[in-house]
């Protein structure tokens, strides 16, 4: 009973911490809530009238939602780039901030699940995919695998984050013996979520653009660019907004790792381009559509070239110590790489799977207003989740927030 009371009390303390803030904080929350509300309204409309409100059709049956889903699986998987140096190599500057990477992973997975739900024609039947109460098609369907690995990753990261925060909040250090086994699982698991998601597309022989063995390695390489780049930006905000010290060395180290990842990504891209264009078989069509347009249809061409230019520029900026250790060029490179990968791994990956269609038709897809509004809403929801996470975790980290435990007299 006393324990329960304590729990409730601690919960209320938490609530107080995350609901109190500066005018800027409230403004930010209000802004996010506005976007979320408009997303929810759009979603209600989509549920009511059907997915005919999107611009997806039988020819291009996946669009903006699945594009965002794919990109965000990459962001989630990228936490591994912090976990490896932090826990395996005991690189101290990164160890101090690895928690934020894990929180970003949790947020990204939540967004992934929201994008999947937004894409379902019958979301109220989503439970059919579960084992026992539903009829999960495991191991045949890669989507069933994805449900397993994504939820598993969510659980693994949640355990780590909540355990560490809990220990810190009662004024104790976390035990490496508890963390270690989870960390060891989490590394291959992070790779698995992205591999399985790549296999989801990769396994479809009907879609030659996806049915290339290079897909999964490229997924991992590009994920290790965009996710960490997003983290670099977040770290700088955290550093500005709180008294937490994040060492420059940690930031520069991550930037260096991004350069290698992008180098591999560009190499794999080159390999793909060579194979398709040199052999020039009929399976070249989707690639041709992406970079040069097909039969006069070319709505993605400009985006794909932009993505390529962004990625190459960012690669150079990250590679040169001089530019990656200058915060202006570093942030520019981060922004370029996030945008570049978002285009390449989002619409640039999903849409050409469907163009030309299996019967040779070209249906040019561009997202509708409803799709955009729901997408923005889900991004805002993700931003909200991450903001609340930070709002709670930062004072715990700095020691401003301490829970009372039974029998202890720690100060609040």
């Amino acid at each position: 009973m006393a324990k329960l009371l304590q729990l409730i009390k601690n919960f209320l303390v938490t609530l107080k911490f995350i609901t109190k803030g500066s005018r800027w904080y409230y403004g930010w929350l209000a802004f996010l809530l506005f976007l979320i509300t408009s997303g929810i309204l759009s979603y209600i409309k989509q549920i009511d009238q059907g997915m005919i409100l999107t611009n997806m059709r039988d020819q291009v049956s996946w669009g903006l939602y699945i594009s965002n889903f794919t990109f965000l699986v990459g962001v989630a998987a990228a936490a591994v780039l912090l976990v490896i140096p932090a826990y395996l190599y005991n690189f101290k500057p990164i160890k101090e901030i690895v928690l934020f990477g894990e929180m970003l992973a949790i947020t990204a997975i939540i967004m992934c699940l929201l994008f999947i739900v937004a894409d379902l024609g019958r979301p109220e039947r989503a439970w059919h995919i579960l084992p026992i109460i539903g009829a999960m098609h495991f191991p045949d369907s890669l989507l069933a695998w994805d449900v397993v690995v994504l939820n598993g990753y969510l659980i693994i990261n949640s355990i780590v984050v909540f355990y560490v925060l809990y220990r810190l909040s009662i004024g104790k250090d976390y035990k490496m013996s508890v963390i270690w086994p989870i960390v060891v699982i989490s590394i291959p698991w992070a790779i698995s979520i992205h591999t399985v998601t790549a296999f989801l597309y990769n396994g479809l022989s009907a879609r030659p653009f996806w049915n290339a063995s290079i897909l999964a390695p490229r997924f991992i390489a590009s994920a290790l660019c965009s996710g960490p780049a997003l983290m670099l930006i977040i770290f700088q905000i955290v550093r500005k907004a709180s008294s937490i010290e994040i060492a420059d060395t940690a930031i520069f180290k991550i930037a260096e790792l991004i350069a290698y990842a992008m180098g591999i990504n560009l190499f794999l891209f080159g390999a793909e381009v060579f194979k398709e264009f040199y052999s020039g078989s009929v399976h070249l069509a989707p690639m041709e559509y992406l970079y040069f347009g097909l039969h006069g249809h070319s709505s993605l061409v400009i985006w794909m070239w932009l993505a390529l230019i962004f990625n190459i520029t960012a690669f150079i900026l990250f590679l040169r110590p001089k530019t990656r250790e200058n915060f202006f060029t570093l942030n520019l490179a981060c922004a370029l790489i996030i945008t570049g990968v978002y285009i390449e791994k989002g619409m640039g990956l999903i849409i050409p799977g469907f163009i030309p269609s299996v019967l040779g038709e070209i249906y040019e897809y561009g997202p509708s207003g409803i799709e955009k509004s729901i997408t923005v809403g889900i991004w805002a929801a993700g931003a909200l989740v991450f903001t609340l996470f930070l709002k709670f975790a930062l004072p715990v980290y700095t020691g401003q927030l301490r829970f009372k435990t039974l029998g202890s007299h720690s100060e609040e």
Binding site: K20, G121, R122, H128, A144, A285, G353, V358, L359, G360
Partner: protein, 310 residues
């Protein structure tokens, strides 16, 4: 605890909680009616997978559906659940040299199978090719939306495509909920009440045979075919996938009837029969004509044979 915080706890969480509760209830009421609402909605929500139901459960589900349909469409539907006939494996033949591209099959199919007319769903797509240009292994030059005053047109030929009822169907393999499967007589079917609308099967199908109900399916009430099969032409729902079933409601009867597309074809380009019966017309075609199957390189092993009779 400082006073200021106490006040906060006492007031803020209350209004927050009320808001959350209200929001949650509001959302829930959109999806499902609460309390005194019609119990059949809950029954539909909790309905089991087709293959998990025993005969009694299936009959009660069918009764409920017939009632729902009657209320919704003002006509009485008969929903059969005829099982596969023993010793049958259905196969289809299409004579490319005869087809004149008239699309009568497309419309006979829509009439028979209760597809939505607005938005429009066709299970058969007739492709038009210019003679001498790429076809079969590259469909990029196929024309779907041709509309000449008269067919056949000089210098063109036609190839209708519909579900190929693969022996090794990629759509079945990828479905995360087992909402689609291959029956013993070789027909690939969908449980419209189990499909979650993820459209993974549509990405997996190499033949564009699967179609999604992007909007609420609509057609004039008097145009419904009321003789239906649970796994076939009964009215569908918004947000689920559907496909050709070789007119399961006709072909599983004993004596069986031809699929509507076979029946309507004015030039006799369409053949249908039991692949296990050595005396069937389809077997004759396969054994004596030059046949090919679409996208053989994918090893889907269609039971839909294109051939040249002349």
């Amino acid at each position: 605890m400082p006073k200021e915080i106490k006040n906060n706890i006492l007031q803020k969480p209350f209004s927050r909680r009320a808001l959350l509760k209200g929001g949650a209830l509001g959302l829930a009421s959109l999806a499902l009616p609460v309390g005194n609402a019609d119990a059949s909605v809950w029954e539909a929500f909790l309905q089991k997978h087709f293959k998990e139901m025993n005969d009694d459960e299936l009959q009660s589900v069918i009764k409920r559906m017939e009632k729902e349909y009657a209320e919704k469409y003002n006509v009485n539907f008969n929903i059969k659940s005829t099982k596969p006939l023993p010793g049958t494996l259905f196969g289809y033949g299409l004579d490319v040299s005869r087809c004149i591209g008239c699309r009568r099959c497309v419309y006979a199919c829509v009439k028979e199978n209760n597809q939505s007319m607005e938005p429009q769903i066709h299970w058969i797509t007739v492709l038009r090719f210019k003679k001498g240009e790429k076809w079969v292994s590259s469909l990029e030059e196929a024309e779907v939306y041709y509309a000449p005053p008269e067919v056949p047109e000089e210098g063109h030929f036609y190839m209708p495509v519909q579900c190929q009822q693969c022996e090794n169907p990629p759509c079945v393999k990828v479905c995360p909920t087992q909402a689609t499967w291959k029956e013993r007589d070789g027909i690939v079917v969908v449980d419209y009440n189990w499909c979650i609308g993820c459209r993974y099967c549509m990405a997996a199908c190499p033949y564009g045979a699967r179609h999604f109900n992007w909007g609420q399916p609509n057609r004039a009430k008097q145009e419904y075919n009321t003789e239906t099969h649970y796994l076939g032409n009964r009215p569908r729902y918004k947000g689920v996938v559907e496909k050709c079933t070789f007119c399961i409601q006709r072909t599983r009867e004993n004596p069986g009837r031809y699929p509507a597309c076979v029946e309507i074809c004015p030039v006799g380009a369409r053949k249908f029969g039991n692949l296990l019966d050595p005396d069937s017309e389809i077997r004759y075609c396969i054994e004596n004509k030059r046949v090919f199957r679409l996208k053989e390189d994918l090893n889907t092993s269609p039971k839909f044979y294109y051939f040249f009779a002349t």
